[in-house]
């Protein structure tokens, strides 16, 4: 009888710990700004708020500058909304599921979600304080798409480099200034460098005032497109 009691207590402890481990974050919101500089000298500044709930999978940006408007990605559509009216709708990939928000909430940011795709790991190597992983496309697509390299530092995504089929760099992304939000690590700055015809185009995205699992503003997380979804 004693043994059964001990076993019961032990199994209860195990269940408790496993449920703690299974606890996942499900929502993110905050302020964002995007500063972009093209090689032709054009500047672009976008400021606003972002909302994402990994259960609804609707990525919502509410811009306040330069224009007051909303951009919402739902399934394979991107909606442009101004004054509660849909101005434009474009077909697009399911961006939300590949967003930094979805990946962070699902603990997939360290490999940028590549682990669950058709990409195969070709090589993993440690160089200094970085672990660099080379991802290769399927054979049939190898003539069209080049490889992708990701690097992590202390298990946090540090950079991604996209290569063309000849190994030339197409784009780099760097994830800086990680903040620990009650156990969720999130980069507060993402730097994009795109190489187009030998020139560099820059984009710096910053995230501030990030709140996780906020239960208010549920109607924004589950955004209802006017006249649609």
């Amino acid at each position: 009888m004693k043994n059964i009691r001990y076993l019961l207590i032990l199994s209860l402890f195990c269940c408790a710990f496993s449920s703690l481990d299974a606890q996942k974050f499900f929502r993110l919101k905050g302020d964002f700004s995007i500063k972009a500089k093209a090689d032709n000298g054009k500047s672009q500044l976008t400021i606003g708020k972002f909302y994402y709930d990994r259960n609804f999978k609707k990525l919502v940006y509410i811009n306040t500058f330069p224009k007051k408007e909303s951009w919402v990605s739902i399934d394979t559509s991107v909606y442009h909304i101004v004054n509660n009216k849909v101005i434009d709708r474009q077909s697009a990939p399911p961006i939300a599921e590949f967003s930094i928000f979805h990946l962070a909430l699902n603990s997939q940011l360290s490999n940028y979600g590549f682990k669950n795709t058709v990409l195969k790991i070709e090589k993993v190597e440690r160089q200094g304080d970085m672990v660099i992983t080379t991802w290769a496309p399927p054979e049939k697509a190898a003539k069209l798409f080049g490889k992708i390299k990701t690097s992590t530092k202390n298990n946090k995504l540090f950079g991604i480099v996209f290569l063309d089929t000849e190994g030339k760099v197409l784009k780099k992304q760097f994830f800086n200034n990680y903040k620990n939000l009650n156990g969720l690590e999130f980069p507060q700055e993402v730097v994009d460098i795109a190489y187009v015809k030998g020139k560099e185009n820059y984009q710096v995205t910053t995230y501030k005032n990030i709140v996780i699992d906020d239960l208010t503003e549920g109607n924004i997380y589950n955004y209802s497109v006017p006249g649609g979804k």
Partner: protein, 145 residues
């Protein structure tokens, strides 16, 4: 012995060079990037101090000039370009999410990519037709037993 030592040194140097290339990929000139966006950082600072200020106000005050893009900007597009103007979700049917992501990044060789896209779509359509034909034939055959 000397030859072996020389071979080992050359190998180590070559190996080190290969390794250095990969880590060098993950570097960028931070000062250059911050300098490039410094004008927008200043505007961002102005807006944080006065959240109600509009792009037109800033233009009138001379805080931003004609090089500043004031039209609608989607946070989803990279450098303001849609994904090749093609319904990219079609790529997703073939290569999954990675293919879709890659479409966004490839802005060179658009014609080649478009040809590949239509080839992939055509093969998918043929595949679907064969699939339904096969199962249709299978069930049709089963129903006569």
């Amino acid at each position: 012995m000397k030859k072996l030592f020389l071979v080992l040194c050359v190998s180590a140097f070559a190996f080190g060079s290969v390794m250095a290339n990969d880590s060098e990929l993950f570097s960028y000139d931070k000062a250059k990037v911050q300098s490039a966006v410094s004008d927008m950082s200043q505007v961002e600072q102005l807006i944080s101090q006065n959240p109600t200020v509009s792009a037109d106000d800033l233009m009138a005050q001379g805080k931003i000039d004609a090089s500043f893009e004031v039209s609608s900007t989607s946070p989803f597009s990279v450098n303001g370009e849609p994904p090749l103007g093609i319904p990219s979700f079609l790529w997703g049917c073939i290569l999954g999410l990675v293919g879709l992501l890659i479409v966004y990044l490839i802005t060179e060789d658009k014609e080649e990519t478009k040809k590949a896209l239509w080839g992939c779509v055509a093969s998918a359509v043929v595949g679907i037709i064969f699939y339904f034909a096969f199962w249709g034939a299978l069930f049709a055959g089963a129903s006569t037993i």
